[in-house]
Symmetry: none
Subunit: 224 residues, 2 copies
DNA sequence: TTATATTTTCAGCTACTTTTCAGGAAAATA
DNA sequence: TATTTTCCTGAAAAGTAGCTGAAAATATAA
């Protein structure tokens, strides 16, 4: 899950970025509206967290522009304490929810999850396929009932695969979604992590492998 | 446990804040209704203490608004002595309890405790797991029957872990819940307090440790 | 005040994670 | 069959998370 944060207060941007990364989201940050608009346009984000007050281009204009471009990425708008009129403009402009500053990280996280859930309406807390389960609450991953210990990146990769079950994901797609777009990662790193995952959830089990290579295109998770 | 106090009389607000912090609650204060509404909306509090008479937005309206937003945080409403009609309006608007000014701190504390207990209805006053117990009334913590002395923060941390038994809590999550959201605390401080707790409730006992590290994700309390 | 306890930061250490590298295997193409 | 491309994989290198003893800062008590 990739999130774009457009916020000129570095302190807040940084806090949001770090917190979200902790939760295994890939986060990019832009510090002004114009930059944010371009980045949002040229990249495929799952959510945009957008401050109203921004240099270069304000949040309301930015949201309007994106919607005019037929970009439907969910937008969570941040408003300063007493800019209640902004809220109206914001929702008007196409934002999907708003949050007044200062906010707690927990609330932000709850809203983000709600927005990310929305399209599928009822994303369950436990993702699963065949006898593999991933519990987003406890971060516990099991295959055939056996608990499997995964590192943060391994977990993020598996979660991304599971959320796109059956779909073939290219290495670049995986890099941009599991890592940040400004992360300078070789495609081979994805191969290595696929390998790590396989050696933990596929190889030890005498069962049909769940992670498939689709030569020339990427990887997918699925049965058979 | 995080409490929001919305009260324009600084003297009272201050007294409540200090008293509650003494009792190991994390307290934030807002001095007018609009500010209070936004803060309550954007933050995940466990209880709101709300004055009826407020500048910008009165308490009854505020409570109604929150309930309309589907915010179910318990509300304890403060009314001036002879505003008995307010009480009716207040409870009508969604307040869970009320208290007439002037009140003694002890009474306030008792009500707060009652309200914090209520949501789960059957939330016991004694939290426990395995042979560890934490009595929210007396603040007594025991492991294997032995009384363990904890400092304020240690207690708050343990209580938070116990109230989320089995769930993995990230360091950021812990910081926002056990400290105030505007607290500038290094993640390492959490590590240090986990260490302090362990040295009091886990290490001295030749038993399986209760506090678990989930590397890359956070901590949880639970058996095995 | 001085002493005492609590809270917070700091610095060093260890183990684990992440990333790169280099060579080899497998599949596709000529 | 040789060549090219893509992927796999073991191992080295670089980077990071978490633990801990101790010091510094802060709060509380005597």
């Amino acid at each position: 899950m990739r999130i774009l944060v457009i916020e000129d207060e570095h302190r807040i941007a940084q806090a949001v970025k770090e917190g979200m990364e902790q939760e295994a989201y890939a986060v990019d940050v832009c510090y002004d509206g114009a930059d944010g608009y371009n980045t949002a346009r040229s990249d495929d984000y799952d959510l945009i967290i957008l401050d109203v007050m921004l240099p270069e281009m304000d949040g309301v204009t930015l949201a309007k522009q994106l919607r005019a471009d037929k970009n439907h990425t969910p937008i969570l708008m941040l408003t300063a304490k007493s800019q209640n009129t902004d809220i109206v403009h914001g929702l008007d402009a196409g934002a999907d929810d708003y949050l007044a500053k200062p906010f707690s990280f927990e609330v932000l996280l709850a809203r983000v999850r709600a927005l990310l859930r929305r399209p599928h309406e009822s994303t369950p807390e436990v993702l699963s396929i065949s006898d593999l389960t991933l519990d987003t609450n406890t971060y516990a991953v099991r295959r055939a009932g056996k608990l499997v210990r995964l590192s943060n990146k391994e977990y993020a990769l598996l979660e991304y695969l599971l959320r796109n079950e059956g779909k073939v994901l290219s290495k670049n797609n995986i890099i941009t979604h599991v890592w940040n777009f400004d992360a300078n990662i070789l495609p081979n790193t994805v191969e290595v992590f696929i390998n790590l995952l396989r050696s933990k959830i596929d190889k030890p089990f005498k069962k049909p492998a769940l992670i498939q290579t689709v030569r020339g295109f990427g990887y997918k998770i699925g049965e058979a």
